[in-house]
């Protein structure tokens, strides 16, 4: 499984939660499913599973939520969890794929 680490540019520290989710969805579309999310001290970063056989043409888009428990909604698939910048503040978020 080949993986690629990338950072989010365009002042990603100030991303709103919605903007962060758009970034994750874009990176998944271009590279593959997200497997890890976090930060490098200055920017939000993620690891993506490139050349994953998952069908990208009709994906269920991932959702990013701020969390305190790490729990995902019933039926959803937890993809990863980590500390990222949301509106300039380090927040614990969870990334999951909702049930079909």
């Amino acid at each position: 499984m080949a993986q690629m680490e990338i950072g989010a540019k365009e002042e990603s520290r100030q991303f709103s939660l919605a903007r962060l989710q758009t970034w994750v969805r874009g990176a998944e579309a271009l590279l593959g499913p997200i497997v890890q999310i976090g930060n490098d001290g200055t920017q939000t970063a993620g690891t993506f599973d490139v050349n994953n056989p998952a069908n990208p043409s009709s994906p269920i888009r991932s959702v990013v939520k701020i969390t305190t428990t790490g729990n995902v909604p019933v039926g959803a698939t937890k993809l990863c969890e980590g500390w990222v910048f949301v509106s300039g503040v380090l927040q614990r978020v969870i990334v999951y794929r909702p049930a079909a």
Partner: protein
């Protein structure tokens, strides 16, 4: 023999259960505990008593010191130049601040260690007593232990938690050292460059530097930074990607799918398909102007292409998809 011991303990239990005797035991324990506190300190006593060390002669008090500092005649300053006078005034003041700080440290150490040690001893003693007592006495003693344990917790909070005390003291030392460095540098300068008025203000700051409140702020800030570092899982992420808007997601997915397909075909078992895929990959690498070693594997070349697509604009990605489609690469399943 066992019966004799049992009877003895029953008598002892009755005796212990009498509230007068119980109170007497508690008082004795507390007195012993407090007596232990008196000599429990984490620092040596100063050679010169604090009361003596903080005594500043009247001529060194600010108003009088400043009057003499500005006097035209050195005789007003016991024969010293203004610079020498300034240095003497400030160093005496800092020496007094040091003495006060040392006293503060001793008291802080004594209060935290002594109080905790004393109460700990009492709790241990009462707990030991409770184990050899009857149920009634044990309950009464358990209540006393609980009260003392609560007192210890409360005391620890009041005197700023024992475990972080070293960090707090280190914080205070840092503040003192910073100001002391500034003052000592100033004392090496001429009187006009570092007048006594400014030096006295710095000396006052030095006096006030060892504040637990400030130290807590310092330690808390350090802890927050430490926590942030602990939350950081990436280092030196070199590849970056901007936001791909929702409308451009199909294009991005086409690129991803096409590159994955080429990579898999190049590594597949069908020689003809693998050769065609390898040729297509080389052509893409050339068209994008990527510097990839000719000996690189198909996967390495595709990764170089993937990295290049991260920095493409929306229009460039669209053109790239069209180029791949024109080359006959399957972009969508």
């Amino acid at each position: 023999m066992t019966e004799v011991i049992r009877r003895t303990f029953r008598r002892l239990d009755r005796l212990l259960f009498s509230s007068v005797f119980l109170h007497l035991i508690l008082v004795v324990f507390l007195i012993l505990s407090l007596a232990g506190c008196a000599s429990f300190s984490g620092m040596p006593e100063p050679v010169i008593a604090t009361a003596e060390a903080v005594h500043i002669p009247a001529e060194f008090m600010p108003r009088e010191a400043l009057r003499r500092y500005h006097a035209a005649d050195d005789s007003e300053r016991n024969g010293m130049t203004p610079r020498e006078w300034r240095n003497a005034v400030v160093l005496v003041r800092m020496g007094a601040a040091d003495a006060r700080y040392h006293e503060f440290r001793i008291n802080l150490s004594r209060e935290v260690r002594g109080a905790n040690f004393g109460i700990e001893s009492t709790v241990l003693g009462l707990a030991g007593l409770a184990t050899v007592s009857g149920e009634g006495t044990a309950n009464a003693l358990a209540a006393a232990i609980a009260a003392l344990t609560g007192a210890r917790a409360s005391l620890s909070r009041e005197v700023y938690f024992e475990r972080t005390l070293p960090a707090l003291i280190a914080g205070m030392e840092v503040s003192r050292l910073e100001i002391a460095t500034r003052v000592l540098a100033g004392l090496g300068r001429p009187a006009a460059a570092y007048p006594l008025e400014v030096a006295l203000l710095d000396a006052l700051a030095y006096e006030r530097a060892p504040s637990l409140d400030q130290a807590i702020q310092l330690v808390t800030a350090d802890a927050a930074q430490e926590a942030a570092r602990a939350r950081q899982i990436y280092n030196n992420v070199t590849n970056q990607l901007g936001v791909i808007e929702e409308a451009d997601l199909p294009t991005a997915e086409g690129i991803r799918n096409g590159l994955n397909l080429l990579e898999n075909q190049a590594a597949g078992g069908d020689v003809t398909i693998a050769a065609a895929a390898t040729a297509a990959i080389d052509q893409i690498v050339d068209e994008l102007g990527l510097s990839v070693a000719s000996t690189a594997s198909a996967g390495e070349k595709i990764n170089a292409v993937r990295i290049r697509t991260l920095t493409m604009t929306s229009a460039e990605r669209q053109q790239f998809v069209e180029a791949m489609r024109g080359r006959g690469v399957q972009l969508w399943n």
